[in-house]
């Protein structure tokens, strides 16, 4: 069980390492790109307001990572062609971040689900 616990702690560490790497994307996103797309009608005024300052701008960063890595995700907002306005290296960077985030989240929430089940079993069934 100690290994399982360490595995969960490693997933937390992986998450924060991912966050640090994603800050590079936040800084690299062209300002002109944000000014063009992070505004009405693509985003509601309230969303623009909320996701502009720290720490919620990190959530906006995740939104744009997915948008650039997976352009079809922006279909509802009319942003499926937005990826054309960023350099190709940024698209590759976004794809790397998007896939690694999905893997880290699956790993982390998987470990949490395991421990949730184990704690419930230990408390009520054992």
């Amino acid at each position: 069980m100690e290994q399982a616990f360490l595995l969960m702690m490693y997933s937390f560490a992986a998450f924060w390492i991912w966050t640090m790497i994603s800050v590079g994307f936040l800084l690299a996103t062209p300002k002109a790109f944000l000014e063009k797309y992070f505004c009405p009608p693509y985003f509601r005024s309230a969303e623009v307001i909320i996701f502009s300052a720290f720490p919620s701008n990190l959530i906006r960063n995740v939104m744009f990572i997915r948008l650039i890595a997976s352009p079809s995700s922006g279909k509802v907002r009319g942003l499926s062609e937005a990826y054309r306005d960023v350099p190709s290296w940024l698209i590759a960077y976004a794809k790397f971040l998007y896939i690694s985030l999905i893997l880290v989240l699956i790993w982390m929430f998987g470990m949490l689900a395991f421990w949730g089940c184990y704690i419930a079993y230990d408390h009520w069934l054992a």
């Binding site: 998450f15 985003f43 509802v76 985030l101 421990w115």
Partner: protein, 327 residues
């Protein structure tokens, strides 16, 4: 002086709502339910507190007399002139808290020990508020002044002025969403941002005053996210420094790390969802509350998981947190 000769010290503890004897014993003596030490402590408490007839039925408000514990150090015979090894457990302070201040005391204690849970939602709320009152939004209020000037100079008719003022303030109201109550109380922006009809002051005095007030609030709130994040980290650090055993330090560290990580990870998951599914204020608040709740539960769960593994790994020392968060 031998151990047997040391006077036994006692303390009083007032039972608070939700307390159980096993919880109190784990807090004061760090003993687990069902262990032989647990049974010995229960017997001791029953002897010291004859008014307790059933250890499974203690009620909030009961005053318990407890034997003060010095932990493992009590086994050592102290030398003359050495300070007492006994360290009073933190809850001893309760005996000096007036009964009618109990609820305030517990509320503040909860806030102090759970400050880390407030960091993430608080940061988002304050950061959001700072931006709600950004130049763009405050510009909408200033626009009312400009519309009034246009009306007075004859560029707009009374109806045009009323209509455009309404449109402008409707947009402002839409932008600030649920923050309206926080900023204006029971009034609406339409009632507050209006032309001064009294004599002796400029017609736009109310608008100017309102804009200035909101600008000050925005300046304070905009940095709130960073400040609150710092407060949350510092609060956890103080808790780790104050904890009297390595096990407790690690429990606090793991609970804080897990709740913050899951809160942040939940927010990222929401971000992934939001890009393809735009939502309104109501859904956004539900998602934010759900993320905070998940973070809180994950913190408690991770702490329980750490205890279940036997609490063998010392993360606080291993990560260097112990050397930063110390007295």
């Amino acid at each position: 002086m031998s151990v047997a000769q040391q006077p036994i010290q006692y303390l009083e503890y007032r039972v608070k709502p939700g307390d159980t004897l096993s919880f109190i014993l784990s807090q004061f003596y760090d003993v687990n339910f069902g262990s032989s030490e647990y049974k010995r402590r229960v017997t001791g408490i029953m002897e010291l507190n004859p008014h307790i007839s059933n250890p499974d039925r203690i009620t909030a408000g009961d005053l318990l007399v407890l034997e003060a514990s010095a932990g493992p150090q009590m086994c050592l015979a102290p030398q003359e002139n050495q300070p007492k090894l006994f360290k009073a457990p933190a809850p001893q302070i309760l005996s000096s808290v007036p009964r009618d201040s109990d609820s305030d005391f517990y509320a503040l204690s909860w806030l102090a020990s759970n400050a880390n849970y407030l960091t993430l939602p608080g940061s988002v709320a304050l950061g959001g508020q700072g931006n709600l009152l950004s130049g763009g939004n405050l510009g909408l209020i200033d626009k009312v002044s400009e519309l009034y000037a246009d009306y007075k100079s004859g560029k707009l008719t009374k109806n045009q002025y009323d209509y455009q003022r309404k449109l402008t303030l409707d947009q402002f109201r839409k932008n600030i969403g649920p923050f309206e109550k926080l900023l204006y109380g029971e009034k609406t922006p339409h009632e507050v941002v209006r032309i001064a009809r009294g004599g002796g002051v400029p017609a736009t005095a109310n608008i100017t005053a309102n804009t200035q007030q909101l600008k000050k609030l925005a300046a304070m709130a905009k940095h709130g996210g960073i400040v609150l994040t710092g407060v949350g980290v510092a609060a956890s650090c103080v808790q780790i420094a104050d904890a009297d055993s390595s096990k407790k330090k690690n429990e606090i560290f793991i609970e804080t790390l897990a709740s913050t990580t899951i809160g942040a990870a939940g927010s990222y998951a929401v971000g992934l969802f939001l890009i393809s599914n735009p939502v309104g204020w109501g859904t956004a608040i539900v998602l934010a509350a759900g993320t905070v709740a998940a973070g809180y539960l994950a913190g408690k769960g991770a702490r329980a998981a750490y205890d279940l593994t036997g609490a063998k790994v010392d993360f606080v020392s291993g990560t260097g947190v112990g050397s930063i968060c110390r007295r």
